[in-house]
Amino acid sequence: MTTPSEQWIVSALRQATDRMPLPPESRWTRERQSTQHGSTIVLVGVAAALIIVVGMTIGALRVEPRAVPAAGGDAFAVAEDKEWRITRFAVASDLVVLRPTWIPSEFRGSVECPSPWALVGTGATPSRTSTSGYYVQYRGRLLPDGRSCAAFELYGQLGAFDDPKPVDGLVETSVDARGTTVHVRSGVPRTDLVPPPQLPEFVRELWWMESGAFYAVISYDPDLELVDLIRVVNSLEPMRSER
Protein backbone atom coordinates (compact mmCIF):
# COMPACT_ATOMS: atom_id res chain seq x y z
CA MET A 1 0.00 0.00 0.00
CA THR A 2 1.78 3.11 -1.19
CA THR A 3 -0.51 5.75 -2.61
CA PRO A 4 -2.17 8.44 -0.50
CA SER A 5 -5.62 7.35 -1.62
CA GLU A 6 -4.98 3.80 -0.48
CA GLN A 7 -3.75 5.03 2.88
CA TRP A 8 -6.82 7.25 3.07
CA ILE A 9 -9.13 4.30 2.43
CA VAL A 10 -7.49 2.20 5.12
CA SER A 11 -7.66 5.13 7.52
CA ALA A 12 -11.36 5.62 6.72
CA LEU A 13 -12.01 1.92 7.28
CA ARG A 14 -10.33 2.03 10.67
CA GLN A 15 -12.25 5.15 11.64
CA ALA A 16 -15.51 3.53 10.60
CA THR A 17 -14.92 0.35 12.55
CA ASP A 18 -13.61 2.20 15.61
CA ARG A 19 -16.98 3.94 15.78
CA MET A 20 -18.88 0.68 16.04
CA PRO A 21 -20.25 0.26 19.56
CA LEU A 22 -19.26 -2.87 21.43
CA PRO A 23 -21.71 -5.03 23.37
CA PRO A 24 -21.48 -4.90 27.18
CA GLU A 25 -18.38 -6.72 28.38
CA SER A 26 -20.52 -9.05 30.47
CA ARG A 27 -21.71 -10.66 27.22
CA TRP A 28 -18.30 -11.23 25.67
CA THR A 29 -17.66 -14.62 27.22
CA ARG A 30 -21.09 -16.03 27.84
CA GLU A 31 -20.74 -19.74 27.44
CA ARG A 32 -23.21 -21.66 25.37
CA GLN A 33 -25.77 -23.84 27.02
CA SER A 34 -26.73 -26.89 25.05
CA THR A 35 -30.24 -26.52 23.70
CA GLN A 36 -32.71 -28.54 25.69
CA HIS A 37 -35.34 -29.93 23.37
CA GLY A 38 -37.87 -30.23 26.16
CA SER A 39 -37.43 -26.70 27.34
CA THR A 40 -37.77 -25.49 23.75
CA ILE A 41 -41.14 -27.18 23.46
CA VAL A 42 -42.25 -25.66 26.74
CA LEU A 43 -41.02 -22.26 25.60
CA VAL A 44 -42.90 -22.55 22.31
CA GLY A 45 -46.04 -23.58 24.19
CA VAL A 46 -45.75 -20.68 26.57
CA ALA A 47 -45.04 -18.34 23.67
CA ALA A 48 -48.13 -19.59 21.85
CA ALA A 49 -50.26 -18.94 24.91
CA LEU A 50 -48.71 -15.51 25.33
CA ILE A 51 -49.44 -14.62 21.72
CA ILE A 52 -53.13 -14.61 22.44
CA VAL A 53 -52.96 -12.89 25.84
CA VAL A 54 -50.33 -10.29 24.94
CA GLY A 55 -51.79 -9.73 21.51
CA MET A 56 -55.22 -9.05 22.95
CA THR A 57 -53.74 -6.81 25.64
CA ILE A 58 -51.65 -4.84 23.21
CA GLY A 59 -54.59 -4.52 20.88
CA ALA A 60 -56.78 -3.23 23.68
CA LEU A 61 -54.20 -0.78 24.96
CA ARG A 62 -53.10 0.47 21.57
CA VAL A 63 -54.61 3.89 21.45
CA GLU A 64 -51.77 6.08 20.26
CA PRO A 65 -50.71 5.72 16.65
CA ARG A 66 -47.32 4.03 16.44
CA ALA A 67 -46.11 5.72 13.34
CA VAL A 68 -42.33 6.00 13.19
CA PRO A 69 -41.46 8.05 10.14
CA ALA A 70 -37.81 8.42 9.27
CA ALA A 71 -37.74 12.03 10.24
CA GLY A 72 -36.98 14.01 13.33
CA GLY A 73 -33.85 14.35 15.37
CA ASP A 74 -33.95 11.32 17.65
CA ALA A 75 -31.18 8.74 17.59
CA PHE A 76 -33.36 6.05 16.08
CA ALA A 77 -34.46 8.26 13.21
CA VAL A 78 -30.86 9.22 12.48
CA ALA A 79 -29.69 5.59 12.60
CA GLU A 80 -32.60 4.48 10.47
CA ASP A 81 -31.91 7.13 7.89
CA LYS A 82 -28.24 6.13 7.72
CA GLU A 83 -29.00 2.44 7.26
CA TRP A 84 -31.45 3.08 4.47
CA ARG A 85 -29.07 5.50 2.79
CA ILE A 86 -26.38 2.80 2.90
CA THR A 87 -28.88 0.39 1.39
CA ARG A 88 -29.91 2.75 -1.40
CA PHE A 89 -26.28 3.60 -2.04
CA ALA A 90 -25.08 0.02 -2.22
CA VAL A 91 -27.66 -1.75 -4.34
CA ALA A 92 -28.33 -1.53 -8.04
CA SER A 93 -30.12 1.64 -9.12
CA ASP A 94 -32.73 -0.35 -11.04
CA LEU A 95 -33.87 -2.06 -7.87
CA VAL A 96 -36.62 -0.05 -6.22
CA VAL A 97 -35.73 0.16 -2.53
CA LEU A 98 -38.91 0.17 -0.49
CA ARG A 99 -38.53 1.90 2.87
CA PRO A 100 -41.25 1.77 5.52
CA THR A 101 -42.87 5.00 6.65
CA TRP A 102 -44.41 3.18 9.57
CA ILE A 103 -43.11 0.52 11.89
CA PRO A 104 -44.39 -0.66 15.27
CA SER A 105 -42.74 1.47 17.94
CA GLU A 106 -41.58 -1.66 19.76
CA PHE A 107 -38.94 -2.08 17.05
CA ARG A 108 -37.03 1.12 17.63
CA GLY A 109 -34.28 -0.96 19.25
CA SER A 110 -32.84 -1.23 22.73
CA VAL A 111 -29.44 -1.31 24.39
CA GLU A 112 -29.13 -5.02 23.69
CA CYS A 113 -30.80 -4.89 20.30
CA PRO A 114 -29.74 -1.86 18.23
CA SER A 115 -32.10 -1.09 15.36
CA PRO A 116 -32.23 -1.01 12.42
CA TRP A 117 -29.38 -2.85 10.65
CA ALA A 118 -28.81 -3.03 6.92
CA LEU A 119 -26.90 -5.82 5.26
CA VAL A 120 -25.81 -5.65 1.66
CA GLY A 121 -23.27 -7.49 -0.40
CA THR A 122 -23.03 -10.77 1.49
CA GLY A 123 -24.54 -13.05 -1.10
CA ALA A 124 -23.75 -16.73 -0.94
CA THR A 125 -22.61 -16.75 -4.55
CA PRO A 126 -19.93 -14.10 -4.95
CA SER A 127 -19.55 -14.76 -8.66
CA ARG A 128 -23.08 -13.57 -9.33
CA THR A 129 -23.05 -9.86 -9.77
CA SER A 130 -26.00 -9.42 -12.11
CA THR A 131 -28.56 -9.53 -9.33
CA SER A 132 -28.75 -7.38 -6.29
CA GLY A 133 -30.82 -7.02 -3.23
CA TYR A 134 -31.01 -5.61 0.24
CA TYR A 135 -31.89 -6.66 3.72
CA VAL A 136 -32.78 -4.39 6.62
CA GLN A 137 -33.64 -5.70 10.05
CA TYR A 138 -35.61 -3.84 12.73
CA ARG A 139 -35.13 -5.11 16.25
CA GLY A 140 -36.91 -4.61 19.52
CA ARG A 141 -36.71 -6.19 22.92
CA LEU A 142 -34.37 -8.93 24.07
CA LEU A 143 -36.24 -12.24 24.01
CA PRO A 144 -36.53 -14.42 27.14
CA ASP A 145 -33.65 -16.62 25.98
CA GLY A 146 -31.41 -13.65 26.74
CA ARG A 147 -29.60 -14.03 23.42
CA SER A 148 -31.83 -13.13 20.52
CA CYS A 149 -33.89 -10.08 19.75
CA ALA A 150 -37.49 -9.71 18.64
CA ALA A 151 -37.11 -8.69 15.03
CA PHE A 152 -38.66 -8.26 11.65
CA GLU A 153 -36.80 -7.90 8.36
CA LEU A 154 -37.35 -6.34 4.98
CA TYR A 155 -35.93 -7.88 1.81
CA GLY A 156 -35.79 -6.69 -1.73
CA GLN A 157 -34.23 -8.56 -4.63
CA LEU A 158 -34.17 -7.88 -8.34
CA GLY A 159 -35.79 -10.35 -10.70
CA ALA A 160 -38.32 -13.11 -10.47
CA PHE A 161 -38.19 -15.40 -7.51
CA ASP A 162 -39.63 -18.86 -7.14
CA ASP A 163 -42.05 -19.19 -4.29
CA PRO A 164 -40.25 -20.50 -1.23
CA LYS A 165 -40.54 -24.25 -0.85
CA PRO A 166 -43.22 -25.43 1.56
CA VAL A 167 -41.89 -25.87 5.06
CA ASP A 168 -43.47 -28.22 7.58
CA GLY A 169 -45.20 -26.32 10.34
CA LEU A 170 -45.94 -23.19 8.32
CA VAL A 171 -49.51 -22.36 7.31
CA GLU A 172 -49.83 -20.60 3.96
CA THR A 173 -52.43 -18.02 2.99
CA SER A 174 -52.57 -14.68 1.17
CA VAL A 175 -53.87 -11.15 1.59
CA ASP A 176 -54.47 -8.20 -0.71
CA ALA A 177 -52.07 -5.33 -0.16
CA ARG A 178 -50.27 -2.75 -2.31
CA GLY A 179 -52.71 -3.57 -5.08
CA THR A 180 -51.42 -7.10 -5.45
CA THR A 181 -51.52 -10.50 -3.81
CA VAL A 182 -49.20 -10.79 -0.85
CA HIS A 183 -48.40 -14.36 0.13
CA VAL A 184 -48.28 -15.15 3.81
CA ARG A 185 -47.02 -18.14 5.73
CA SER A 186 -46.50 -18.43 9.44
CA GLY A 187 -45.87 -20.88 12.21
CA VAL A 188 -43.10 -22.87 13.83
CA PRO A 189 -40.90 -24.44 11.12
CA ARG A 190 -39.90 -28.08 11.40
CA THR A 191 -37.50 -30.21 9.44
CA ASP A 192 -36.42 -33.83 9.25
CA LEU A 193 -32.91 -32.91 8.17
CA VAL A 194 -30.08 -34.50 10.12
CA PRO A 195 -28.38 -32.68 11.66
CA PRO A 196 -31.26 -30.23 12.03
CA PRO A 197 -30.45 -26.73 10.79
CA GLN A 198 -30.94 -23.84 13.10
CA LEU A 199 -34.52 -22.75 12.48
CA PRO A 200 -36.40 -19.90 14.11
CA GLU A 201 -38.91 -20.87 16.76
CA PHE A 202 -41.52 -18.78 14.99
CA VAL A 203 -41.61 -17.11 11.62
CA ARG A 204 -44.18 -15.12 9.66
CA GLU A 205 -43.26 -14.27 6.07
CA LEU A 206 -45.08 -11.98 3.64
CA TRP A 207 -43.78 -11.82 0.06
CA TRP A 208 -44.85 -10.39 -3.24
CA MET A 209 -43.58 -9.19 -6.63
CA GLU A 210 -43.53 -5.51 -7.50
CA SER A 211 -41.70 -3.39 -10.08
CA GLY A 212 -39.85 -6.43 -11.38
CA ALA A 213 -38.46 -7.33 -7.98
CA PHE A 214 -39.16 -9.73 -5.14
CA TYR A 215 -39.96 -8.24 -1.75
CA ALA A 216 -40.54 -9.83 1.62
CA VAL A 217 -41.25 -8.82 5.18
CA ILE A 218 -40.32 -11.49 7.69
CA SER A 219 -41.02 -11.51 11.41
CA TYR A 220 -39.51 -13.78 14.04
CA ASP A 221 -41.61 -12.24 16.79
CA PRO A 222 -44.80 -14.15 17.62
CA ASP A 223 -46.15 -11.02 19.31
CA LEU A 224 -45.99 -9.03 16.11
CA GLU A 225 -49.44 -9.41 14.62
CA LEU A 226 -50.21 -9.98 10.96
CA VAL A 227 -52.24 -6.80 10.83
CA ASP A 228 -49.15 -4.79 11.83
CA LEU A 229 -46.97 -6.52 9.24
CA ILE A 230 -49.56 -5.72 6.58
CA ARG A 231 -49.48 -2.12 7.77
CA VAL A 232 -45.69 -2.12 7.35
CA VAL A 233 -46.10 -3.55 3.84
CA ASN A 234 -48.65 -0.90 2.92
CA SER A 235 -46.43 1.85 4.29
CA LEU A 236 -43.46 0.98 2.06
CA GLU A 237 -42.46 3.78 -0.25
CA PRO A 238 -39.77 3.86 -2.94
CA MET A 239 -36.54 5.59 -1.96
CA ARG A 240 -35.24 8.11 -4.41
CA SER A 241 -31.97 7.06 -5.99
CA GLU A 242 -29.17 9.49 -5.11
CA ARG A 243 -26.92 8.40 -7.92
Binding site: S5, I9, R14, M20, Y155, V203
Partner: protein, 164 residues
Protein backbone atom coordinates in the same frame (compact mmCIF):
# COMPACT_ATOMS: atom_id res chain seq x y z
CA UNK B 1 -6.69 -29.27 43.31
CA UNK B 2 -4.40 -31.42 41.18
CA UNK B 3 -1.57 -30.09 39.03
CA UNK B 4 -3.57 -30.88 35.89
CA UNK B 5 -6.55 -28.96 37.21
CA UNK B 6 -4.32 -25.99 38.02
CA UNK B 7 -2.83 -26.10 34.53
CA UNK B 8 -6.32 -26.21 33.02
CA UNK B 9 -7.49 -23.29 35.13
CA UNK B 10 -4.43 -21.28 34.21
CA UNK B 11 -4.90 -22.10 30.55
CA UNK B 12 -8.49 -20.89 30.73
CA UNK B 13 -7.43 -17.65 32.41
CA UNK B 14 -4.79 -17.10 29.73
CA UNK B 15 -7.23 -17.85 26.94
CA UNK B 16 -9.93 -15.60 28.36
CA UNK B 17 -7.45 -12.74 28.73
CA UNK B 18 -6.28 -13.16 25.15
CA UNK B 19 -9.86 -13.45 23.94
CA UNK B 20 -10.95 -10.29 25.75
CA UNK B 21 -8.01 -8.43 24.29
CA UNK B 22 -8.96 -9.53 20.78
CA UNK B 23 -12.73 -9.07 21.16
CA UNK B 24 -13.10 -5.39 20.13
CA UNK B 25 -11.09 -5.74 16.94
CA UNK B 26 -12.62 -9.04 15.88
CA UNK B 27 -16.18 -7.97 16.77
CA UNK B 28 -15.83 -4.83 14.68
CA UNK B 29 -14.18 -6.81 11.94
CA UNK B 30 -17.13 -9.20 11.75
CA UNK B 31 -19.54 -6.26 11.64
CA UNK B 32 -17.47 -4.76 8.84
CA UNK B 33 -17.73 -8.07 6.97
CA UNK B 34 -21.51 -7.72 7.13
CA UNK B 35 -22.51 -9.53 10.31
CA UNK B 36 -25.29 -8.08 12.42
CA UNK B 37 -24.17 -7.19 15.97
CA UNK B 38 -25.99 -10.18 17.47
CA UNK B 39 -24.45 -12.47 14.84
CA UNK B 40 -20.97 -11.13 15.56
CA UNK B 41 -21.54 -11.67 19.26
CA UNK B 42 -22.75 -15.23 18.73
CA UNK B 43 -19.88 -16.04 16.39
CA UNK B 44 -17.33 -14.72 18.86
CA UNK B 45 -18.86 -16.73 21.66
CA UNK B 46 -18.58 -19.81 19.44
CA UNK B 47 -14.91 -19.03 18.94
CA UNK B 48 -14.40 -18.52 22.67
CA UNK B 49 -15.86 -21.95 23.44
CA UNK B 50 -13.87 -23.58 20.66
CA UNK B 51 -10.75 -21.95 22.06
CA UNK B 52 -11.45 -23.47 25.47
CA UNK B 53 -11.82 -26.87 23.83
CA UNK B 54 -8.62 -26.43 21.88
CA UNK B 55 -5.77 -28.61 23.04
CA UNK B 56 -3.11 -26.72 24.94
CA UNK B 57 -0.37 -28.49 23.02
CA UNK B 58 -1.62 -26.96 19.77
CA UNK B 59 -0.61 -23.30 20.13
CA UNK B 60 -1.74 -20.74 17.58
CA UNK B 61 0.58 -18.19 16.04
CA UNK B 62 -1.93 -15.35 16.38
CA UNK B 63 -4.76 -15.51 18.89
CA UNK B 64 -6.51 -12.56 17.23
CA UNK B 65 -6.25 -14.23 13.85
CA UNK B 66 -7.41 -17.59 15.12
CA UNK B 67 -10.47 -16.04 16.78
CA UNK B 68 -11.21 -14.00 13.67
CA UNK B 69 -11.07 -17.00 11.34
CA UNK B 70 -13.09 -19.29 13.63
CA UNK B 71 -15.68 -16.61 14.34
CA UNK B 72 -16.08 -15.63 10.69
CA UNK B 73 -16.62 -19.30 9.78
CA UNK B 74 -19.23 -19.59 12.52
CA UNK B 75 -20.98 -16.50 11.21
CA UNK B 76 -20.98 -17.76 7.63
CA UNK B 77 -22.35 -21.12 8.73
CA UNK B 78 -25.14 -19.43 10.61
CA UNK B 79 -26.00 -17.21 7.63
CA UNK B 80 -26.20 -20.19 5.30
CA UNK B 81 -28.50 -22.02 7.69
CA UNK B 82 -30.76 -18.98 7.93
CA UNK B 83 -31.12 -18.99 4.17
CA UNK B 84 -32.90 -22.31 4.22
CA UNK B 85 -36.12 -20.42 4.67
CA UNK B 86 -35.59 -17.62 2.24
CA UNK B 87 -32.45 -17.57 0.13
CA UNK B 88 -31.32 -14.27 -1.21
CA UNK B 89 -28.39 -12.86 -3.03
CA UNK B 90 -27.14 -9.43 -2.24
CA UNK B 91 -24.50 -8.34 -4.63
CA UNK B 92 -23.76 -5.51 -6.93
CA UNK B 93 -20.70 -4.14 -8.61
CA UNK B 94 -22.20 -0.87 -9.72
CA UNK B 95 -20.23 2.30 -9.57
CA UNK B 96 -21.45 4.62 -6.88
CA UNK B 97 -20.85 8.28 -6.22
CA UNK B 98 -19.58 9.66 -2.95
CA UNK B 99 -22.77 10.79 -1.33
CA UNK B 100 -22.39 9.59 2.21
CA UNK B 101 -19.97 10.66 4.88
CA UNK B 102 -16.69 8.80 4.61
CA UNK B 103 -16.99 6.16 7.36
CA UNK B 104 -20.39 5.05 6.09
CA UNK B 105 -19.23 5.18 2.53
CA UNK B 106 -16.23 2.95 3.12
CA UNK B 107 -18.37 0.41 4.98
CA UNK B 108 -20.95 0.41 2.21
CA UNK B 109 -18.17 -0.06 -0.35
CA UNK B 110 -16.60 -2.83 1.72
CA UNK B 111 -19.88 -4.73 1.88
CA UNK B 112 -19.91 -4.82 -1.91
CA UNK B 113 -16.61 -6.67 -2.23
CA UNK B 114 -16.46 -10.45 -2.71
CA UNK B 115 -16.31 -12.25 0.61
CA UNK B 116 -12.68 -13.33 0.34
CA UNK B 117 -11.51 -9.78 -0.41
CA UNK B 118 -13.56 -8.50 2.52
CA UNK B 119 -12.12 -11.14 4.84
CA UNK B 120 -8.56 -10.29 3.94
CA UNK B 121 -8.99 -6.52 4.07
CA UNK B 122 -10.62 -6.83 7.49
CA UNK B 123 -7.93 -9.24 8.68
CA UNK B 124 -5.18 -6.87 7.63
CA UNK B 125 -6.58 -3.48 8.53
CA UNK B 126 -9.25 -4.01 11.17
CA UNK B 127 -7.99 -7.05 13.08
CA UNK B 128 -4.40 -5.95 12.42
CA UNK B 129 -2.82 -9.18 11.19
CA UNK B 130 0.41 -9.24 9.24
CA UNK B 131 0.59 -10.65 5.70
CA UNK B 132 2.26 -13.79 7.09
CA UNK B 133 -0.38 -14.32 9.75
CA UNK B 134 -3.20 -13.75 7.26
CA UNK B 135 -1.64 -16.17 4.78
CA UNK B 136 -1.22 -18.87 7.42
CA UNK B 137 -4.71 -18.50 8.83
CA UNK B 138 -6.44 -18.59 5.47
CA UNK B 139 -4.15 -21.29 4.14
CA UNK B 140 -2.98 -19.25 1.16
CA UNK B 141 0.33 -17.92 -0.08
CA UNK B 142 1.65 -14.61 1.16
CA UNK B 143 1.65 -13.35 -2.41
CA UNK B 144 -2.03 -14.15 -2.69
CA UNK B 145 -2.71 -12.06 0.41
CA UNK B 146 -0.78 -9.19 -1.09
CA UNK B 147 -2.51 -9.46 -4.47
CA UNK B 148 -5.98 -9.82 -2.94
CA UNK B 149 -5.38 -6.83 -0.68
CA UNK B 150 -4.27 -4.73 -3.62
CA UNK B 151 -7.31 -5.76 -5.67
CA UNK B 152 -9.64 -5.06 -2.76
CA UNK B 153 -8.21 -1.62 -2.05
CA UNK B 154 -8.40 -0.79 -5.75
CA UNK B 155 -12.04 -1.90 -5.81
CA UNK B 156 -12.81 0.18 -2.72
CA UNK B 157 -11.15 3.14 -4.36
CA UNK B 158 -13.25 2.66 -7.50
CA UNK B 159 -16.42 2.34 -5.47
CA UNK B 160 -15.61 5.47 -3.55
CA UNK B 161 -14.32 7.35 -6.56
CA UNK B 162 -11.17 8.44 -4.80
CA UNK B 163 -9.02 10.69 -6.89
CA UNK B 164 -5.32 10.83 -6.35
Amino acid sequence: MTAIAVDTALERVRWEAAYRSAFPRVYRGLCALGARPDEAEDALQDAFVKGLERRADQPVASVDGWIYVVASRAWRGRRLRERILLPWTLLTDREAPSLLDTPLEVLAALRRLPLRQRQIVVARYVVGLSQEETAELFGIARGTVSATTTQAIAALRRHMEVRE
